[in-house]
Amino acid sequence: MSNFWQGPIEKIDDFHWRIPKTYKPGMRVPGIIIADEKLLKDIRHDKAAEQVANVAFLPGIVGASLAMPDIHWGYGFSIGGVAATDVEAGGVISPGGVGFDINCGVRMLKTNFQYEEVKDRIKDLVYALFSGIPSGLGSKGDIRVSTREEKEIFLKGSKWAVQKGFGIEEDLECTEENGAIQGADPGAVSDRAYERGKAQSGTLGSGNHFVEVQVIDQLYDRDCCDQFGLNLGQITVMIHSGSRGLGYQVCDDYTRSMIRCLEKYKIDVPDRQLACAPVNSTEGSAYLSAMRCAANYAWANRQCLMHLTRGVFEKVFSMSWQKIGMSLIYDVAHNIAKIEKHKVGGIEKKLCVHRKGATRAFGPGHPALPQKYSKTGQPVIIPGDMGRNSYLLVGTEKAMEETFGSTCHGAGRLKSRSAALKSIRLDDLLKKLEAKGIVVKASGRGTIIEEAPEVYKDVNDVVDVVHKVGISKRVCRMRPLGVIKG
């Protein structure tokens, strides 16, 4: 059965495409897809564009239902979607606009190593990372916490981990929201969610989550690179994970309660996975409080994962991580809802910005940025697939004007997992990756195939668009050397 989308898309310019408000009765704003012609062709091959139109039904949505160039078909919201609602005008919050993996995100570390120094050690390093970092379905780590400690994690996020000795104060400064979004209420999290979160701190999870050793292979903005301390040939590390079972439970709990809100608040949405409630309602604020707990849990998790990664490097290279220069460049969330101030029609408004597979990309001078990034703009980390590239970008003023300070989050899937399993042979794939000098270790055989480079769009195409549109700016590009997956 073909999922090709036949709906109306109007060209605004080479990079902006509109789904008119008239496409479906009930759309409150148009849909805007940011893409070039090539990517748009891919986008039409599934139902992502229909989901962009569906999101436009959300009460209080302002501007447009936005889609980044890595957009693909999700459940409810498309992945790669941005939707902002006006909090003071009955704007809603939707757990589906955040997703089950609350604060799934990515962080990037640098090292002092040059590729030539460590190229013969990559295999050892990847195998050591694989044994040192718990990964895979339901993986449980050595970092087990009591209910009391879990509450602390919900409130303090990364800071909890730093206080336990899993990192340093400077790491917090280099994390979105300093690793802990304010307004978390541990009382809004169910007992079951607590239970699911107890043993999963410092675990990677499965699917597309990874730890990847990379080398910088292209510099685009030398001034920015100098400010970040990045050079050609330098080894970097990327960590991609989220809030694990705890986040899934919070999303499930609140989707259940918000389905009831559709009737209570007389909200009409075309997909129950878009269930929502006004941000200012009891249900909306309860979800926001619980979601923030899960978001903070995810930041603590990535902080723990970074601590474990630093430990593995220390063992493999027999020197301290400080000597290796493993400092955090930045950590970004790409599944989250935030209360932020943005201008709509020239007037500053308090908005609930849903980023579902989209990254915050605040421009230079934004008060949310640490001093060290005030001039450059916020670092934006874009992981690609395990065979091609990843990018470091920075946020821009243009993103503030056009996309509520948001940009893409990755390459975006092109092929389904089942199509990958049917068409790709593991041996061939591993040989291809090996020929490129990429070492892969994963818990599940299926995971490697499901995450093969050819199932993704080319991240270079996606980043090219966001750079040309100006909603973020290329700083440097990395290529993978070794990756561990769940």
């Binding site: 059965m1 999922n3 599934d46 992502a48 693909h72 078909w73 999700g74 459940y75 409810g76 992945i79 997703g99 089950f100 993996d101 895979g136 379905l137 339901g138 079951r192 239970e195 699911r196 999870g205 499965s206 699917g207 079972g245 899934y248 439970q249 999303c251 499930d252 989707t255 259940r256 389905i259 009831r260 997909d271 129950r272 996975q273 269930a275 899937r413 092109l414 092929k415 389904s416 997992r417 089942s418 199509a419 818990s443 599940g444 299926g446 995971t447 499901e450 769940g486």
Partner: protein, 139 residues
């Protein structure tokens, strides 16, 4: 032969499952979901089995179906078990009471993680030969 079909979806995975009645539909959907998650090894490494009673109430049949699958995923994560047997004491359009048997994770090869069952394109319908459901999982 598998008792379910895969529905193509770009990022996630969907199944189409059938049953002669609602009990069989709910049972087959649960077993299909765990079949996606894990494959039973030929040799059992642990005889451990745990029987768990699951009770769910929902506003309608579709919500009951999604809540049932998500409750099993949640229990599977907390108990570290794969559910391999399901029997119902009661199942109507608003509630169910089931006994499920969880087997030790070490008896399985893990294939993929399912985060949750979703409402996106959810379908449950009664046909001449019984019931059919389509559900998309977030993976």
């Amino acid at each position: 032969m598998k008792s379910y079909e895969i529905i193509e979806h770009t990022a996630d995975i969907g199944i189409r499952v059938k049953g002669k009645d609602l009990r069989e539909l709910f049972r087959n959907a649960a077993l299909a979901m765990f079949d996606l998650i894990a494959t039973r090894l030929k040799e059992s490494k642990s005889p451990d089995k745990e029987k768990i009673l699951v009770k769910i109430k929902s506003d309608n049949l579709e919500e009951l179906f999604v809540n049932w699958l998500n409750e099993l995923l949640s229990l599977s994560s907390v108990k570290e078990k794969i559910f391999c047997e399901v029997s119902f004491k009661n199942l109507d359009k608003n509630s169910l009471e089931a006994e499920v048997v969880g087997c030790a994770l070490m008896n399985y090869k893990i294939e993929s993680e399912i985060k949750a069952a979703t409402y996106h394109q959810l379908q449950l319908r009664e046909e001449q030969s019984g019931w059919q459901a389509e559900v998309i999982f977030d993976v």
